[in-house]
Every structure is written in structure tokens, then in C-alpha cells.
Symmetry: C2
Subunit: 229 residues, 2 copies
């Protein structure tokens, strides 16, 4: 099956890259599940707890789809996730949420960063994986709740807004540093994105541009929430 970049799943290195990428995305969804439930437990209202529990269950469904794709491609989900557990877990550990609103910011920023990344990488994978990634992308309605709650809190309490802005900056900073570490360590996934000399994939400059676009999108989103990132 040819891809938009002209590469084929019959090519073992391309297939290995797609498997790793799906593993990374799957583990991200799993971390999202636990992160959201954790935030739900500190939510002040029962209705917020329920809304967040639903959002978490939705992340788990996305996990199932992505890990299912790993299996379809002949990979093992746990093996495919293994190289990324440390990066995600470190990100999570290094950005502890100090309040329920920071937890919500983490859910929101984590989710939107993932969304931006999905959008960027969907060009480099096979058509079936691309369709799955786009399906996962499409399905962001659950975030309205986080967005609305954050906007309300920020408009009512500018001091809280200041702290949230700082926290938002740390979230993206730590995420980019983890992403860059992973990019440096993982050949299979990096080969997917970085030019292998055949003219396919992105080149290194394009990869840097990708990180810059993701950072810009995050900044815009923080401003839109009423924060200066």
C-alpha cells in the first residue's frame, strides 16, 4: 500500500516506524487516561468528576484503537510502547499539578499538544493509519468542558491566570524536551519523519519547523484562553 510520501508498509523500516509511532501515541493516550482520572478525583463538584471520568474513558478508547493498529501491523503493543514510557512518565512527574485547575490545564494542554502532533505526523504514515489518526483527531468534543472551565476561572481570577500561564509554559517546555530526547534516541520513528535520502519523509529542518509550529499553536491557544504563554 503506497503512502502519501510514496513509502510502503512492505518496507520493513517504514513499517517499524509506523508501529513505533502508533505505540507512542497509544502510550500517550494511556497516560492521558490516568492523568484525567487523577484530576477528576480533585474536582470540586460531582458533575465535574463525572465529566472528567467520561473524558478519561474516551482516552482509553483511543488507546484501544491505536494499540489495535499496532497489532494489525504485526507489532506487539507493549513492545511498541516500551521506548516511550519513560519520556511520558518523566513529563508527567516533572510537571505535577498543584491544584485542580492546573490538573485541568494539564489535561487540556496535553490533549491539544497531542492533537497538533497527530495532525503533523498524519502526512508521514500509510493511508489506513492516517485515517485512524484523523478519526482520533476529529474526536475532540470532550475538551469543551476543560476549555470552558479554564476560561471561566481565568476571567474571574487574573492571579490564578498568571500561575496557570507559567504552568502552561512549563508543560510545553518539558514536552518539547522529552520529544527531542525521543527523536534523538529512536531511529525507527525518526526515520519515519526525517528524510532518509530518498526524498521521502521530512528533513531535519522540517522537523524543527514542526516543533516550532506546535509551540506556536500552544501559545495561540493559551492566549485564546486569556493567558499570555
Amino acid at each position: 500500500m503506497a503512502t502519501s510520501t510514496g513509502r510502503d508498509l512492505a518496507d520493513p523500516s517504514f513499517r517499524a516506524g509506523v508501529v513505533e509511532l502508533c505505540g507512542a501515541l497509544a502510550y500517550g493516550e494511556l497516560v492521558g487516561f490516568f492523568m484525567i482520572v487523577h484530576d477528576a478525583e480533585t474536582a470540586p463538584r460531582l458533575s465535574d468528576r463525572i465529566a472528567l471520568a467520561r473524558l478519561a474513558a474516551h482516552e482509553l478508547e483511543q488507546y484501544e484503537r491505536l494499540s489495535g493498529r499496532v497489532t494489525e501491523l504485526g507489532g506487539d503493543p507493549e513492545t511498541a510502547m516500551a521506548p516511550f514510557t519513560e519520556g511520558f512518565d518523566d513529563w508527567h512527574r516533572r510537571t505535577p499539578a498543584g491544584s485542580w485547575l492546573e490538573g485541568l490545564m494539564k489535561v487540556y494542554a496535553g490533549h491539544t499538544l497531542a492533537t497538533d502532533f497527530y495532525r503533523e505526523i498524519s502526512a508521514y504514515v500509510d493511508p489506513e493509519t492516517k485515517a485512524l489518526v484523523e478519526e482520533v483527531l476529529h474526536d475532540t468534543g470532550h475538551l469543551d468542558f476543560a476549555e470552558r472551565t479554564l476560561r471561566e476561572a481565568i476571567s474571574q481570577d487574573p492571579a490564578a491566570g498568571g500561575r496557570l500561564a507559567l504552568y502552561g509554559r512549563r508543560l510545553i517546555g518539558e514536552a518539547l524536551s522529552q520529544a527531542q530526547r525521543v527523536a534523538a534516541e529512536r531511529d525507527a520513528i525518526t526515520n519515519l519523519l526525517v528524510d532518509d535520502g530518498s526524498g521521502n519523509g521530512a528533513d531535519l529542518a522540517e522537523l524543527t519547523q514542526m516543533f516550532a509550529r506546535i509551540t506556536q499553536a500552544h501559545t495561540d491557544r493559551m492566549e485564546w484562553l486569556g493567558l499570555s504563554a
Copy 2:
């Protein structure tokens, strides 16, 4: 709509009892969701974390069905759950799990206690609610994982088994004490189960018998796991 006990949803006190009962069950599922996720986070293997996350998501689905039934009956889920939040939360707080296996025991015992209770009360509700309760009951395949893991751990380490047996006893003791407190406080739900003089419902002696049967089932189950409860 006539029930197996001859009572009808057109009877406001019967309807109020069914709404409260569904509220209690719904909140129990919600507590189960958070409890299981909490245990998942301390699971030693990634595969266990995933298995438990799936089990948790399943509890949330059951929550949705039960709270949906409250709405169908003209009730408000949050209002219907409110009288029971304290009892469940107290139970959870008073029985902190000291290890991953105790957490798994809590999941297992909590789930099976709920199952026994569901089975008992399904006789007292209207046919549609009964069908829903039986559907929820039927769906216990996810527990195999907890059961298998506990059996393995107990057969390998009898000392751990002794601690788990004590913990299991506390779980049921605290659950019964909360249930009895709720039964004493909540007229609507108690009227559903206790004879109101019309010959419908259970009488008080039967209610005590119900608690005794649930305790016995718990004891049998602990023995079956390799523990003396």
C-alpha cells in the same frame, strides 16, 4: 407496570424507592471506577495497568446505564446519588489499601459484594429496572483477572494471604455497617425492601437474612481464593 412484588411505578413511593436504589448503584459504580484506576496506578506490570484500566472503563459504562435509568424514571442522577456518597466514600476512606494486592482485593470484594446485592434486590424492582440490573450482573467476565492474580499471589505467599484475609474481613465489616446506616436513614429505599404492611417488599427479618446471605457468600468466596475470612 406491575412488578414481581405486585407494586407499580405509578405508585410514587415505589418509584422514589427505585430511583434511590438506582442512584445508590450508580454511585457505587462511580466509586468503583475511581478505586480501580487508583489500583491500576500501583500495578507492577504495564499489562496489569491496562487490564485494570479496562475494568474501570467498564464500571463507568455501568454507571452510565444506571444513571440513565434514573433519568428515564424522571429522577435526577446527582440528586439520586447524593444520599449515598457519604456511605460509599466513608467505606473507601476507612479501608485504605496498603498494597497493590490489597487494592486488587478491594476491587474484587467490592465488585462481588455489589453483585450479591444486585442479585438480592432485583426481586423488588420493576421489570425494566430488573432487566437492567440483571444485565449489569451478567457482565462480570472482567473480574477473572483480579481473581486469577489474587489466587496466584496467595498460593505463592501464605503470609500475604493472611494479611489479605484480615483486610477482606474489614472490607465486608465496613460495607455492612455502611449499608445498615443507609438502611436506617433512607426511607425511600428501605420501603422498597422492607414490608410496608401491604405484604409487598421484604420484611425486616428478611432484610437481616439478606445481609447474612451476602456475608456468607463473601466468606465462601474468600475460602475459594485460598483465604479463611
